[in-house]
Amino acid sequence: LHTAPVRGVLRLRPLHFLVAAGAGYAGYRQYEKYKEQQVEKLGQESPPKIASDWEVSLYKSVPTRLLSRAWGRLNSVELPNWLRKPVLSLYIWTFGVNMKEAAVEDLHHYRNLSEFFRRKLKPQARPICGIHSMISPSDGKILSFGQVKNCEVEQVKGITYSLESFLGPHANTENADVKPASCPDSFQKQLVTQENNELYHCVIYLAPGDYHCFHSPTDWTVSHRRHFPGSLMSVNPGVARWIKELFCHNERVVLSGCWKHGFFSLTAVGAQNVGSIRIYFDQDLRTNSPRYSKGSYNDFSFVTNNNKEGIPMRKGEHLGEFNLG
């Protein structure tokens, strides 16, 4: 470089920079991998790497809601018949969709990707377990499950989020089945209505190729809906391991009520490109809408003078769906 003409050095600089940056990053990744292997060899689990505040702020500053809406609009455009099969086949191939389970296997039937995304399944494709009281409400991957402890819920192993931030404060519902707890300081205790009961949680991640409708996991009554407009960061397991309180940042719809053992809630959390959540019995719900600002929430009670119980749901009954955009 010392002996090269100045022009030549300047011309090569971007290439040098790219090669050096690439090699540096590859070296860093190898070093991180080596460190993880060493920790695993010692029989220890490597600590999760959590994003710093500025990394979260940077990610949140990306206009994910706007991009998601644009993506939704694009995918709602009716495709010409000749283009449907290649476009949808590419999606099927990329995300490993099993079309044999779909109620309609003919790809020409779906006018666009949005319609394909909310495809229904053949009735016999998902037999409902009749023995156990709680079933999976959707297809997906189990990220975490267990007891809620100290008002903290596990989003993935070792990374938690605040129960109160996630559900929001208690709704002022006169007819709700939530009794005031003996210890008013504990949000968790206020949710538990019966002695000797505990609070449990389960997180299911739906991959892009999965069936994206969800159903009632048990027999219960929905008394309240709370919609949190929020960011639309990716919720894939890698990001869930990286960003603490990810589910509290993202747009979500919390349905709460009661089942035979007390409090019950199901929350649909939106994600990058999948910002719209539809609840079939809730026609007023509008998610990923520019009229709502992040950080607020909108409540709706299903308990009215005419309907004192709320909305009864049977195990396996259609409850809602995720949509693109």
Binding site: S136, V148, Y200, H201, L206, A268
Partner: protein, 32 residues
């Protein structure tokens, strides 16, 4: 997208799950 269930149940509630496992709609999640 993600579905999060939070619910109250007696102490002997058992999940029939393993972390990271694939699950389909309709399969057993847990019971007493």
């Amino acid at each position: 997208s993600t579905i999060v269930l939070i619910f109250e149940a007696p102490k002997d509630f058992i999940f029939y799950l393993k972390p990271g496992q694939k699950i389909r709609f309709g399969e057993a999640l847990g019971s007493l």
